[in-house]
Assembly symmetry: C2
Homo-oligomer: 246 residues x 2
């Protein structure tokens, strides 16, 4: 039995999310099906994070145990050939120790959220950005973001479906950067609550369009109440960037 | 009658190219159909350049004459609403003089070519880059590119379908830059022959993978013979970046 670490890029558009679902395609099922075809073994692929429907990944980390002996090169090439035409690509692969776990060994997760902030809708990046057609004030959004960094009870920014034991998380980074016509929001933490990044981005957008003052984000945080949420940003602008390990 | 200048972003994937065709969808037809629905006028949209099937545009410039009186805002919003779901977006619009012409007034055109140079196929940028899975030497490609800059007979780099009166063109810029996993080739000239950018990129890729020496590109140019062409790069990596006017 060999444990393999996979680095996976995917376009979340056609998927119900990372996790295997009965009612539609998932990234996990796409990879498991390709591995089954290649090795004949039904194997479970574990990821560092379970992304929602429509959320993309630049480099999700996952692992899988395989009995079959195969080279790194052949495994990566085989999975990439068999997973087509689904938009999933294994960009790197390596053998890891048997006790290494993509989810439980992970000590940090990074996300990027892309807002296209112009009047005209996207043609080239359709489904890859959140299109906000009204002017956003990125500097006010950056000021609001600073209220969320640190250790807090993030109940306001937590989905009702969240399975985390505690709403208390430490947000290490939340930055807002104007990049041409886009606004990029970067978030880093050991772990996130379900919908936390999209909920934070939604509130920052309320500030960006002037409906909220930067301090209103602090008030929403302190309310510890999902009803205080301004807006949940849509999934198509969100990218899982990287999982960090010791 | 008002002449309007349109700046157009499009994903070339689903189109037979810019120009109206009998046998399939085109960007021109998509825009003309939206304008017809909006104004009731059958109008011809003229572009700075006629891109091939699969080629994208970050900012194509075009013009159209309309009798109907309409505000800039309403015209842009109306076209963008009516052109959906086709991946075409009018990003800017302005009134111009009656003798201004998107094609004939244009004094410069810029293209970008994106190569994804890694083993794994693209998941997020499928159809938006040329995937070259073998290592390319960007610095050798840059050296080869310098042989093509300047005024030359580009017969080697010209499609048999090219309608230009002369194969002699002045290439103002051809640069090669490594950008993470991508190689970006930027080309600028007053005008280009049909397939010129893709033909030049194809030869640079021959150099990049070591099949050609940089000097072989000069020899191919001097041959003035289409048979001397190494390879025509595929359309999906090519972007019309900008048209310049006095």
């Amino acid at each position: 039995m060999t444990r393999w670490r996979l680095t996976v890029e995917f376009d979340g558009g056609p998927f119900m999310g990372w996790q295997r679902q009965d009612h539609g395609p998932s990234v996990q099922a796409a990879l498991e099906q390709a591995l089954l075809q290649m090795t004949g073994e039904p194997a479970v692929v574990h990821a560092a994070g379970r992304t929602d429907a429509g959320v993309h990944a630049l480099a999700m980390t996952a692992h899988v145990d395989l009995a079959k002996t195969v080279s790194e090169h052949r495994l990566r090439e085989g999975v990439n050939a068999l997973v087509r035409p689904q938009p999933v690509s294994v960009t790197a692969i390596a053998q890891v120790a048997d006790d290494w776990h993509a989810r439980f060994s992970c000590i940090g997760r990074r996300y990027l959220y892309r807002i296209l902030n112009r009047r005209a809708p996207p043609a080239l990046d359709r489904g890859k950005v959140w299109h906000v057609p009204v002017d956003l004030d990125a500097s006010a959004m950056g000021e609001a973001a600073r209220h969320l960094v640190g250790r807090h009870d993030f109940t306001t920014f937590r989905s009702v479906h969240c399975q985390s034991q505690s709403p208390v998380k430490t947000l290490d980074q939340l930055t807002v950067e104007q990049a041409g016509e886009e606004i990029h929001i970067r978030a880093a933490a050991r772990s996130f609550l379900h919908h936390q990044v999209r909920s934070m981005v939604g509130c920052l957008a309320m500030v960006g369009r002037g409906r909220w003052a930067p301090d209103d984000v602090r008030a929403a945080l302190e309310a510890k109440d999902r009803q205080a949420l301004g807006l949940n940003a849509p999934p198509e602008g969100l990218y899982f960037v990287e999982a960090l390990y010791p």
